[in-house]
Subunit: 84 residues, 2 copies
Amino acid sequence: MELITIIGLTAALFTTVSLFPQLLKVWKTKSTKDISTGMFTLFCGGVLLWFVYGVFVKDFPIIFANALAFVQALIILAFKMKFK
Amino acid sequence: MELITIIGLTAALFTTVSLFPQLLKVWKTKSTKDISTGMFTLFCGGVLLWFVYGVFVKDFPIIFANALAFVQALIILAFKMKFK
């Protein structure tokens, strides 16, 4: 595999996996005061569009990474709505 | 411009701009208790790698969007370090 492909895949892995510690934190603490609703709303919209983009260009890594990011960001947003 | 290009650019705009409300929130409140250090560390690493990827493939939108995301995420992380 070329170096540039490895860099791209590692980048995708990092940004997708990054949401998990935040999800775990709100799940455990049920506290979301410092989390911005604006951030997670825009982020959900963004990764949903990336998902649509991935479907259009038939790129499985884009589809998979953004579907995973969308689900995690949506759960964080749901926690934010529930525990203001 | 093709629809798929518009979708991709809008997606990039959303995910990049999404960090700004969070940055503004921690700036104003100086409170970061509910923000995950793990999330913003992994996210900083991820967008930095996307930036390197963009430089490699000479793609200006990838370079620009991820440079902007990196700076914002790094400031949020600095606030998290300063105001535990």
